[in-house]
Amino acid sequence: MFHQKRFLTQSVFMKEASPVRPKAGRDNVYVEALISFEARNTGRSVSRWRQFQDKAKPYLIILPAFLLTIGILVPFATGVYWSLTDYNLMRPQFEFIGIGNYVELFSGGEFWHALKVSGVYVLFAVGTELLLGLIIALLLNQETFLAKIFRPLLILPLLIAPVIATLIWKLMMSTDFGVINYFLSLFNPELKEFPWAGSPKYAMLTVVLIDVWIFTPFIALLLLAGLRSLPQPPFEAAQVDGASRWFIFRVLTLPMLAPFMVIALIFRIIDSIRMFDIPFAMTKGGPGDSLMNLQIQAYTEAFTYLNISVGSAYMFVTWVIIFIISKLMVGYWMKWRQRLSA
């Protein structure tokens, strides 16, 4: 009897105060449909508490992930704030100066130079790596004896810390006792004195060379995995259709591999924009300012001149650049994936 009565009051109550409807949206429509379906079938209305639970659930589920990001968001926000101040470790106090640091950054030559160094580095390092990586992946994507041996060896350069690899390269490139210069001198005695990173002219070539040596296998491995995951029937169909190998490569393999190339490029471009260890271990940004990229510039500002605010401004600009590039590339990647999935 008592239960019946409570039932009655509840449903009357629900009729009078119509439940707060969630804003229209595809997911909500679905949830609403479920709720009303349940209401109709069980003959009673859904309580407000239940509705609140339904709405709060997504946020509760995502809460752990949010807690994790605190460790990232707090320093990020702090850094952005510092870039808007005149924070310098040599002064006891600092104050908010708005976008002053950025105005100075964009009007001075150092920033544009650093941007140019980073850009050139990305262009040449990643471009060469993509080309070489693609060729290596295609060569290793066959079941020959040599390919089977080389596939596991490919990963070796990735197992060395880039700093150590750079230091080893530095020794090998020494004009006094470097093994590379020795071999070069066999072709032409003058090359014994080839200055490598010692000359502003060849510094960029040198660090790009080391970057290519370390990271080409990364792209080759990704593209090899991509090649192996491609569906076979289209390639068989193209063979039967009489397409030559070059035609198949150009019209089928390349476009179908494009999503994997984009993924490899996203990783490598981001890595190269925030490249620090190779040029720093090589010359600390020199000779002169020839290898002063965004990262080394920021490091020098913050840790040599103790100018935390300007260093932070450099880092924030770098973040914006990486954010925009990765956003564009991920968008492009998603579009291709969708197109390719039949």
């Binding site: 193209a238 039967v240 259709d241 999935s341 039949a342």
Partner: protein, 378 residues
């Protein structure tokens, strides 16, 4: 002269652990303009055979001739045959139109001519409205049409189809089946069609090659396969509903010789034409096969009547299937759509003595077919 000829073709897949003999000593001649079906259960070697003809699979031994060319060592590109794939194998990043003209572009045909052929093929398959779309937005039936169009635009002399209908729903399957049949009539190309569905094979093919366990069982027209199956497998695989098999023993008494079903469910007088076979094969265990369509409810003067009890009655619309329990064994027959039965109902049925098949239980060979073909040749 056969347009496609397979001589003693073998396919052996080798891996570290095992060795699979996928096709064994296949001999098959397909004449020009013929519609040949390779029919068999999964894993019988029919797709391997097709892939060897098209060149996607190497030939372990034997010879394959297309026209007067030995194609064993030719690449798929050089064999000049068209193929429609089970999975359609469309190029997902190209538009439908680009997909269809792909073979022409690969051969370097100039764009105006490509466009002309595209318009022709598209209107033939009624897909003109789809040309600008991407494959991912098509239904599976449309993908199938596009895959057919891509094969047809080459105007091939040999056209191979690998289970083209297996992913379509029933209505579309019948529709596409008719379309393929019509295309074959219009274009007069040699078609080799792989399927595991005997209905498709029977509906489409001029001749059917039945395969099982890597071996060719029988090649023939649908009538030959139905009336004179080479062995128990062919008799069982072709025909819907499947044929009824009964182990029989021969009983001789003074008046007549009868075939008695082993459990004693029924006996039939021995057809006189079989006497000669039975004399030669003393000691063999025999089986008879009776097709559900060859059993009737009506006495047409057949001497053999069998009493049974209705066990399962399937109402299917155009015709109904009735399964009787006769003693220990079951007997399925086809009745007209006007006749209904209830479980447990007593039914008397009659067997057409001229349409009973006799098999050797051990070898599986169909003894009555051998006799039939011999008597036909006399």
């Amino acid at each position: 002269m056969p347009s496609v000829r397979l001589q003693q073709v073998n396919k052996i897949y080798r891996s570290k652990r095992e060795r699979v003999h996928a096709v064994r000593d296949l001999n098959l001649g397909i004449t020009e303009g013929e519609f040949m079906c390779l029919l068999g259960p999964s894993g019988c070697g029919k797709t391997s055979s097709l892939r060897m003809i098209v060149g996607l699979e190497s030939i372990s031994s034997g010879e394959i001739w297309i026209g007067d060319r030995l194609v064993n060592d030719l690449s798929p590109q050089e064999r000049n045959v068209a193929m429609s794939f089970e999975s359609y194998a469309l190029y997902t990043h190209l538009s439908v139109g680009e997909n269809i003209t792909f073979p022409l572009k690969a051969k370097g045909m100039p764009p105006p001519e490509r466009r002309k052929r595209l318009v022709e093929v598209a209107s033939m398959l009624e897909i003109s409205s789809l040309l600008k779309m991407t494959p991912s937005s098509l239904s599976s039936g449309q993908m199938q049409q596009v895959s057919l169009a891509r094969a047809l635009i080459r105007e091939p002399s040999v056209f191979l189809l690998d289970e083209p209908l297996s992913h379509l729903d029933v209505n579309l399957r019948v529709y596409t089946r008719n379309r393929i049949k019509r295309l074959h009539t219009e274009l007069d190309t040699t078609m080799i069609y792989v399927t595991h569905d005997q209905l498709e094979a029977v509906a489409l093919a001029d001749r059917i090659a039945v395969m099982n366990f890597a071996e060719l069982q029988q090649v023939g027209t649908r009538e030959e396969l139905l009336d004179r199956p080479a062995n128990r497998f062919v008799a069982d695989f072709i025909g819907e509903p499947p044929i009824n098999f009964y182990e029989v023993e021969i009983q001789e008494d003074l008046r007549e010789t009868t075939l008695r079903e082993t459990s004693g469910a029924f006996s039939l007088p021995l057809p006189s034409r079989w006497e000669s076979i039975l004399d030669q094969l003393e000691g063999t265990v025999f089986e008879i096969g009776v097709r559900p369509h060859d059993i009737t409810l009506h006495d047409r003067g057949y001497p053999q009547s069998v009493q049974g009890e209705c066990e399962i009655f399937e109402f299917l619309g155009e015709e109904n299937h009735l399964t009787l329990k006769v003693g220990e064994v079951r007997m399925t027959l086809v009745v007209s759509n006007r006749e209904f039965f209830e479980t447990g109902e007593k039914v008397t049925v009659y067997l057409d003595p001229n349409r009973i098949h006799l098999f050797s239980k051990d070898s599986g060979a169909c003894l009555s077919s051998q006799l039939g073909s011999e008597s036909a040749s006399w």
